[in-house]
């Protein structure tokens, strides 16, 4: 097999892995947006909290470490809803977004204080590191985490799609995302639906924390911040009004970033952000409602 082909396959694998992780984040952000109409900029800090938990429990058995990561993230997610999102219900989108900026900075600053107790900045999350080893598939080196990321993403998305389609809470969540006022008129419990969205969004953040620390075990207060910004962009580009277009948007921006990075000449990769964001602008101008948001007539589920 030629070198070029193997490099391409490797890039493709990385692109799928990155896309999968971003898709998970997009679902987490999109679910909460669906029921609360709130763009949660502080979503990345949920992931950051999970990553720190993994770092501080590095000595524990891997399973215990991962479970505690999920526990911390879901608790924090619920606390965020109770203390911040609930009082903000009904505020203007700008106020909600800026408040989540403040929450994001608050959590980063808090992490800084906790992190610096030992006098150095950054902690290593080593327990899940074995997943980062490369495995050879037909002569191509692919990191295990790529498979895990794609597997986790597909599994989580299928499970969520089933829950949304088949269960009562899923039906209520979809209804609330589509028309909250009418849903409440029908007796749908707002707090229950929101709690469901917030918990699922937290679980997804926990999963992303595990996957990202495998890729990059060095955890700092700004962990996942950049990823979150990129995913937020991807979610809006894809179409934030529906969960599946938001998810596709997240996947696409992760996937495309890796491919563009590989396609650019080495001395021009520093301009990767410019290329990606120029694409973003073009897409937004052509399809302001979202790249994947086809006409309202399309028979798609709305969340």
């Amino acid at each position: 097999m030629s070198t070029i082909a193997s490099v391409d396959l490797q890039t493709l694998g990385d692109a799928f892995g990155q896309g999968a992780i971003y898709a998970l984040m997009a679902v987490g952000i999109g679910l909460v947006f669906g029921v609360l109409r709130l763009v949660n900029f502080a979503y990345g800090q949920l992931i950051m909290a999970g990553a720190y938990t993994l770092a501080y429990t590095s000595g524990w058995p891997v399973a215990a470490s991962i479970v505690s990561c999920f526990a911390v993230v879901v608790t924090l997610s619920l606390a965020m809803d109770r203390l911040v999102f609930r009082p903000l219900r009904g505020s203007s989108p700008a106020v909600m977004l800026v408040t989540t900026f403040a929450v994001s900075f608050f959590l980063q600053a808090l992490a800084l204080i906790i992190d610096l107790r030992d006098g150095t900045l950054g902690q290593i999350a080593s327990s899940v590191a074995p997943l980062n080893q490369a495995v050879s598939v037909g002569g191509v080196d692919v990191r295990k985490v790529t498979f895990v990321a794609v597997g986790v993403a597909v599994g989580a998305l299928v499970a969520l799609a089933l829950v949304l389609a088949r269960t009562t809470i899923g039906l209520h969540t979809r209804a609330a995302a589509s028309d909250f006022r009418t849903a409440r008129l029908l007796g749908v419990r707002a707090n229950r639906v929101i709690a469901f969205a917030v918990v699922v969004s937290g679980l997804l953040a926990g999963a992303v924390a595990v996957l990202l620390t495998v890729q990059n075990p060095f955890v700092q207060p700004d962990f996942a911040l950049e990823d979150t910004i990129i995913v937020l962009v991807g979610v809006v580009v894809g179409g934030i009004d529906r969960l599946w277009t938001a998810t596709l948007g997240g996947f696409a921006i992760g996937f495309v970033s890796v491919l563009v990075n590989a396609a650019l000449p080495t001395d021009k990769t520093v301009f990767l952000p410019s290329v990606v964001y120029a694409l973003v602008i073009v897409v937004l101008l052509l399809r302001p409602a979202g790249l994947f948001a086809w006409g309202r007539r399309a028979a798609v589920e709305r969340v």
Binding site: T168, R174, S178, D179, R181, L186, G187, R189, A299, V300
Partner: protein, 238 residues
């Protein structure tokens, strides 16, 4: 007077900011009755329904369900207490299937159910059973209205509030839903009907109140249905 009326409005006032849309409105709906509420646009009919449902606060006065005050209860709580609103414009979930729309109505259901929970809707409107797997948005206007009513009924509410259910429907479809109201009354469900079709409403309802400029103007009985002049006079009374 019957013991405790199913639904009582006792001197309520509803405001939008400093403007009061409904003033000193008192009326009661007895169990198993159909009570009509008619009046010109902007008379405060929908506002009254929204106040009952807890979507708007009553600035003054009291709304009681079976003698119990509904003050400070949220719309979702009131729905689960046994009042169902079929909102103006139907508000069905067009992207969902007919069956999913009906299952949403079960959110307010109080008792457990045996057999087909969606039965009440299917018995009244067999077409919904036939189209249960279809997208609700693909139904005709009349069928969508049937779906909206069916969705409210599967919760087995004590009281059904209807906000201009005949709006925008073809004459045949209007006949269909007015027929359905009679059948709904027969199973003991109480109805408060807000309508623009004054004559039909007066003919159907046990009592029909005429609301003008937010105030109760006149109350008509079924016998007044043929008395067009009287109805018109009530509308113009402001």
């Amino acid at each position: 007077m019957p013991e405790a009326a199913a639904l009582e409005l006792d001197g309520i006032e509803v405001r939008y900011g400093s403007v009061s849309a409904v003033r000193d409105l008192t009326l009661s709906v007895g169990k198993g009755e159909i009570v009509g509420l008619i009046g010109p646009n902007g008379a405060g009919k929908s506002t009254t329904l929204h106040a009952i449902m807890g979507l708007l606060p009553a600035h003054r006065g009291e709304i009681r369900l079976h003698g119990q005050s509904l003050r400070r209860r949220s719309a979702e709580a009131i729905a689960r207490a046994g009042i169902a609103l079929v909102p103006e414009g139907r508000r069905i979930f067009g992207d969902f299937t007919v069956e999913e729309n009906l299952r949403l109505g079960l959110a307010a259901r109080r008792q457990a159910y045996i057999g087909d929970a969606l039965g009440p809707a299917f018995e009244l409107f067999p077409i919904l059973a036939e189209f249960r797997r279809r997208q609700a948005g693909a139904l005709s206007g009349g069928q969508q209205q049937q779906l909206a009513i069916g969705r409210a009924l599967v919760a087995r509410p004590d009281i059904l509030l209807l906000d201009e259910p005949s709006l925008g429907l073809a004459p045949l479809a209007v006949d269909g839903i007015f027929q359905a109201f009679t059948e709904i009354r027969e199973v003991g469900t109480t109805i408060l009907l807000v309508e623009q079709r004054a004559q039909r409403t007066v003919a159907l309802a046990n009592r029909t109140h005429v609301l003008v400029g937010g105030e109760l103007q006149m109350t008509l009985g079924p016998a007044d249905a043929e008395d067009t002049d009287k109805i018109i006079a009530a509308y113009l009374a402001s």
